[in-house]
């Protein structure tokens, strides 16, 4: 039957009208009603969002802040010449065309300086008005005559500087006058500073003769002394020798020798005379840079600009624009400084990223969990909305609006606090993270509520024990497992740390949380079966109830587990750093203090040291380095000790906690190879046999009597023999091959001192009293030497903050979980009271019912923390955090690795348990106050 036309139109209109349209803001003041109905929850949500937004927004700013501080300190500590760029140009005699002098004039030099200022690119910015230029001789010219001080019979050398006219006239004349401008004949006038005059014994009127290439000496007449008017004049920084003479040491044998190097300031007339000096004339430009505004992010750009100036496009542009040919830019000092900073930043970067990702993940998990709990609590309400005709997007919009009214201002407040309290220039990342926090908080509740109502009819029983996991859940779990495997593989293979490797601890914790959700009922079921024969009903009931808890009750405990794991990982990083430093210091010193003499310890040193306060042990040993057994290439150190004192020392301070087998060294008859305690590598070389080794006291045979992994006072491979046995092995005295020091090669060279609180000053005094040339090293001082750069200190503080934040979030997740189940618990207690259980029994039941999941979560947190440390240890290198670049460069070979830290492994879970018990006790006491009648009058809770 064909549909007549008007009916078709009506059908279309009906269809259009029937399409569900969403309502705009209607007459129901939803937000106001909700806020009035649950102000406490809104306040709590607001506080949580504000704190989280503050933490996450402050994170990038804190990182930037300490990086900037580190850069500023590095720049401030650097010497002035590293904070500037120097341009030099060798002046070769140019063709003397009319109007052009052989040496560049002041105007040309100024033009070149101007060209440099044009060419240089930001972030390399020259300080305005601080640059200085001039001409000087290329190499210091030797003086002639014997009038000047000659400490080692070496002639002093002079550098003659010709600054621009205005710089010279800007100096304050102390005595005499400034040098004349006009070119004279062979005599050149110059001035010098008072200090130079004092040291070199010159004054106004004296002359200095300088050697020239053409043989005829150049006479420089001193016309006066000058002082700069202001502090730190640019010329003094550009040519430091002008300020005062410096002693230049000449390498050689015997006593050190050197000569004086001093500077003279001359007028414009000396320019051409400089050409006659050895090394010719060099035009120089000194541009101090304005580096206060340099941020760590601009460092790569600065490096690029410097590289371009040194040999790239900018160098070509400078040469093209400069009237002086051959201008070469040298920024190596600054470049090296920036490169060192960039390298440290790069090394510490991945570790900081791990901490940041950890905290951000834990915060996100807790926010999502709070939203999920809230959604679970409002299940009936959203079901009602759905039944009254609310569409899923409409309900989501209502819930999102209600949360956004609280969350968005709170997030804004948190971000504002971060912007105000943490000084930094980086704001984009902070804003982005704050917005992400607000979005997560706004969307968690609506999405969770809407997902639960996708199907219109009620779900089956939600018991944990009976629920068969859906396929979607299996897919999610497998995805997480794959991600974890990928992250572990990436971190172990040493690939560059992307976000995946940075998220490795969080991924491991997530996998453990999913595992906990799966196996959570099993121990409870076992416990239920074990307790069902008990005479009282309370324990069994509690365990059974714990097993029947809805799945929503386990979700917050998964969040607790993630938080505990990340906190313990952070703690293990800090512990690893401390442990690495301690091991490095121990390896460098060997005991609590070490006194080393180049040839042999002076007489009576041991006795004097033993008398110093705080010294408990002193063992004198002889260490010879770099020995090799015949036929094997591995160098080792031979240590001749007194076994008993050495063993005592090893027990105190040894790397492997003592257990040094002194007895193995004792049995020696006098013939044959000496028994020695050797390192594993050397034992491998010896292979059970004996070998001869050439020591300072002659050759001696050794065999391996015991193997230890490490011994005090030595690093690497070693062989420890008894000094007495060594002496006995040469009944006819030692045959020393090299007798220059007057020793016989058997005396101890190192005194190892053990004591709890050693005073370095007193030890040094005692050592000085015994002899000279002794080097005293203290373990505490070595450890203090590893005191970090601001970069490392900042990173370590960040880790501390991350640990604290994660522990706090874990406690918060637990609190939320307990608060969520509080109404059900109160109703349970009331019903139990009506059934006739005593108050004590009822409270015990409520207590025991809530505890098993929390205990499981805490235990899971400890195990997962340990597992994360063990799994990630090969891949995470903490050396960048433990030792600064200088210490690394000086050869601290100890590697800092993740070390399980008992503090952060055990204290947070214990804290969680204590908190849970406290809150549970408080809740049961409060419900006892109200009485069962009041509880039961209110509606169905669970």
């Amino acid at each position: 039957m064909p549909v007549p036309a008007p009916e078709k139109g009506a059908a279309r209109r009906a269809r259009r009208a029937a399409r569900p349209r969403e309502a705009g803001p209607g007459a129901v003041p939803w937000i106001r009603a909700r806020l009035r109905a649950a102000p406490g929850q809104a306040l709590a949500t607001g506080v949580l969002v504000m704190v989280t937004a503050f933490l996450l927004a402050a994170l990038p700013r804190a990182v930037d802040s300490y990086e900037s501080g580190a850069l500023r300190e590095a720049l401030a500590r650097a010497q002035a010449d590293r904070r500037s760029v120097t341009v030099t140009a060798d002046v070769l005699a140019r063709d003397a065309s009319p109007g052009r002098s052989p040496v560049p004039s002041d105007a040309e030099l100024a033009a070149t300086a101007e060209a440099f200022r044009d060419v240089v690119r930001p972030p390399v910015v020259p300080q305005p008005g601080a640059d200085v230029h001039g001409v000087r001789n290329g190499t210091p010219a030797p003086t002639l005559g014997r009038a000047l001080p000659r400490p080692a019979q070496l002639d002093p050398r002079a550098t003659v500087v010709v600054p621009p006219r205005e710089v010279l006239s800007g100096l304050r004349t102390v005595t005499g006058r400034l040098p004349a401008e006009a070119p004279g004949d062979d005599v050149v006038e110059a001035v010098l500073t008072a200090r130079t005059a004092e040291v070199m014994g010159l004054e106004a009127g004296s002359s200095v003769r300088l050697a020239t290439v053409d043989g005829a000496p150049l006479t420089v007449r001193i016309t006066g002394t000058v002082e700069p008017r202001g502090p730190r004049p640019a010329l003094w920084t550009a040519v430091p020798v002008v300020r005062g003479p410096a002693m230049v040491w000449v390498p050689g044998r015997g006593d050190p020798r050197g000569y004086w190097h001093f500077g003279l300031l001359s007028g414009g007339g000396a320019r051409e005379a400089l050409l006659r000096l050895e090394g010719g004339a060099v035009a120089f430009w000194h541009h101090p840079l304005r580096l206060e505004d340099l941020t760590p992010d601009e460092v790569p750009a600065a490096q690029r600009a410097l590289a371009s100036l040194s040999g790239g496009s900018d160098a070509a542009r400078l040469q093209a624009r400069s009237p002086v040919e051959g201008a070469v830019v040298d920024g190596d000092g600054l470049d090296a400084l920036l490169a060192a900073f960039a390298a440290e930043r790069r090394a510490a970067g991945p570790l900081v990223l791990v901490a940041a990702v950890g905290v951000a993940s834990v915060a996100a998990v807790v926010l999502l969990m709070a939203g999920g709990l809230a959604a679970a609590g409002r299940r009936t309400e959203t079901a009602l909305l759905r039944a009254r005709g609310g569409s899923l997007p409409g309900i989501a919009r209502l819930l999102a609006a209600e949360t956004a009214v609280v969350a968005v201002p709170a997030a804004a407040a948190g971000v504002l606090c971060a912007l105000l309290l943490v000084p930094s220039r980086r704001w984009a990342a902070a804003l982005l993270l704050g917005a992400a926090v607000a979005a997560t908080a706004c969307l968690a509740l609506p999405l969770r509520a809407v997902v639960a109502h996708r199907t219109p009819w009620a779900a089956a029983r939600e018991d944990l024990t009976a629920a068969r996991p859906s396929r979607r859940r299996v897919v999610v779990e497998l995805t997480v497992v794959v991600l974890v495997a990928g992250a572990l593989a990436a971190s172990r293979s040493g690939a560059s740390a992307g976000v995946l490797t940075a998220a490795a601890p969080v991924l491991i914790a997530t996998a453990a949380a999913l595992l906990l959700r799966r196996i959570h009922p099993i121990p409870l079921r076992l416990l239920a079966r074990a307790t069902d024969r008990l005479s009282g009903a309370v324990v069994h009931l509690a365990v059974v109830r714990a097993g029947r808890a809805p799945a929503a009750a386990v979700m917050p405990l998964a969040a607790v587990l993630v938080a505990l794991t990340v906190a313990s990982f952070g703690g293990s990083v800090l512990a690893g750093v401390a442990d690495g430093r301690s091991r490095a210091a121990r390896a460098a010193v060997g005991a609590d203090a070490r006194i080393e003499a180049p040839a042999s310890l002076p007489e009576g040193l041991a006795a004097r040291i033993r008398r110093v306060d705080g010294v408990e042990e002193a063992a004198a040993v002889r260490v010879e380095y770099g020995l090799r057994t015949a036929g094997f290439s591995r160098p080792f150190a031979l240590v001749a000790v007194d076994p008993s004192s050495y063993a005592r020392l090893a027990a105190r301070t040894g790397p492997d906690g003592g257990g040094f087998p002194a007895a193995a060294l004792g049995r020696y008859g006098g013939t044959g190879p000496l028994p020695a305690v050797v390192s594993p590598g050397l034992a491998e070389d010896l292979g059970g046999g004996a070998a001869t080794v050439a020591t300072d006291s002659g050759s001696v045979g050794i065999r391996a009597a015991a193997v230890r992994a490490a011994a005090p006072a030595v690093e690497g491979d070693f062989a420890v023999v008894s000094a007495a046995s060594l002496a006995r092995s040469r009944p006819d005295g030692p045959g020393r091959t090299d007798g220059t020091d007057g020793t016989d090669g058997t005396e101890p060279t190192v005194l190892l001192v053990g004591g709890a609180h050693l005073d370095g000053a007193r030890l040094r005094d005692a050592a000085r009293g015994a002899g000279t040339g002794l080097a005293v090293k203290l373990y505490s001082e070595e450890l203090a030497r590893y005191e970090s750069t601001p970069l490392q200190t900042g990173a370590r503080l960040l880790y501390l903050a991350a640990v604290a934040a994660c522990a706090g979030y874990g406690a918060l997740a637990l609190l939320l979980a307990l608060l969520r189940t509080a109404p059900g618990r109160r109703a349970l207690l009331a019903r139990l009271r009506t059934m006739g259980t005593s108050r004590r029994q009822a409270h015990a039941l409520a207590f025991l019912e809530a505890l098993p999941p929390i205990v499981l979560a805490a235990a899971g947190g400890i195990l997962t923390g340990l597992a994360a440390v063990l799994l990630l240890r090969p891949g995470v290198d903490l050396t960048a955090l433990a030792f600064s670049a200088d210490a690394r460069g000086k050869g601290a070979t100890v590697q800092a690795v993740l070390t399980p830290d008992p503090g952060t492994l055990l204290w947070p879970p214990a804290g969680v348990l204590v908190l849970a018990c406290t809150v549970l006790a408080l809740q049961t006491w409060l419900s006892g106050l109200r009485g069962p009648g009041t509880e039961l009058r209110t509606e169905e809770h669970t």
């Binding site: 309502a23 209607g26 079901a383």
Partner: protein, 334 residues
């Protein structure tokens, strides 16, 4: 009762088909049509047949009660009619909407515009943080029809006044008595002018006066607004005050009690209750337990067609078919 088959021509068959098409279908002008409705719940290997082929016809503007013991399937039927559950088999049509073939959008439209639902627990009918008037406004707002706010507010007040809870307009639910809460819930259910109002034991939590008020409101809704009302109850007072009470037994509609007013010999109007047994489309009939137990009816009955009724005789031991001489369906007892 055999018919003699006559070979049919094609024209005969066409005529018969046309006649069948023009004959009114089952439940043509009824609002609620349930045709052999089946709902089976499966949980952990246990199967529960809540509805076993239920036939039901409810016309426009009727005030009907569904009564039955617990477990008889009446709440399941209500959930299906409200669009909150989907039947396993059979057909259910409410106001032209086929309840088995609805997608999410049409189900949403159905919940908004065709049906209103009132539950037993007062807390699940109203949002505790909105006043009565705001609760009534909420479904209107969620439906998103283009009505102005003033009109909506006027309609909300009108509904509340009609049901006698106008004085509770600005009160929160916890400040209202049980009866007032349920009447507000009825107003909420009527907010979008549904064709069908479903109430699941609305008087279950109330005392007798409250129950009386709720019943009066339902009757008002039915009479003033013309809404078809179906009340599920096991309260005898409710069942006796509606015009038609359908008893559901073992997942099927078993019997009905209908109130009819008639004029007796003195000219006075009298309300008479008449109890009927429901006959489904296949002609099946459920005999009341009282009847079957009294007569000892077990497996078989004998039927006899009389001019104006059907006689149902129990299967006597003497009439067992092992006596060969008797004809089956034989002599009646009277």
């Amino acid at each position: 009762m055999t018919e003699r088959t006559v070979p049919a021509t094609l024209a005969d068959l066409e005529q018969r088909a046309e006649a069948a098409r023009e004959r009114p279908g089952y439940g043509q002008d009824a609002l609620v049509v349930c045709d052999r409705l089946v709902r089976i719940f499966t949980a952990e290997g246990v199967e529960v047949q809540a509805l076993q082929g239920l036939d039901l016809l409810i016309g426009h503007g009727e005030l009907t009660a569904l009564v039955g013991a617990s477990g008889s399937g009446k709440s399941t039927l209500l959930n299906i009619l409200a669009g909150l559950d989907v039947p396993t088999a059979g057909a259910a049509r409410v106001g032209g909407h086929d309840l088995l073939a609805m997608d999410a959008a049409s189900r949403l439209r159905y919940r908004r515009e065709v049906v209103g639902f009132v539950r037993q627990e007062t807390s699940r009918n109203l949002l505790p943080y909105l006043t009565a008037e705001q609760n009534v406004l909420l479904p209107m707002q969620l439906a998103g029809r283009r009505t102005r706010r003033r009109e909506r507010t006027a309609r909300a007040r009108e509904l509340l006044d009609l049901l006698g809870v106008g004085h509770c307009r600005d009160r929160l639910p916890r400040h209202m008595s049980g009866g007032e809460q349920q009447r507000t819930a009825i107003a909420v259910a009527l907010a979008n002018s549904p064709s069908l109002l479903l109430a699941d034991e609305p008087t279950g939590e109330l005392d007798s006066s409250g129950a009386e008020q709720v019943l009066a409101s339902l009757r008002t809704a039915n009479e003033e607004l013309g809404t078809t009302v179906v009340v599920v109850t096991h309260d005898a007072a409710v069942a006796s005050s509606v015009r038609r009470a359908i008893a559901v037994r073992n997942g099927r509609a078993a019997s009905e009690v209908v109130l009819r007013s008639e004029v007796d010999e003195h000219g006075a109007e009298r309300v008479v209750t008449q109890e009927y047994a429901t006959v489904d489309r296949a002609g099946r009939l459920q005999l009341p337990r009282g009847f079957t137990e009294t007569l000892g009816i077990a497996e078989r009955v004998r039927l006899a067609l009389r001019p104006d009724h059907i006689a149902v005789h129990p299967d006597r031991v003497a009439d067992r078919p092992d006596r060969v001489t008797d004809r089956p369906g034989g002599s009646g007892d009277d």
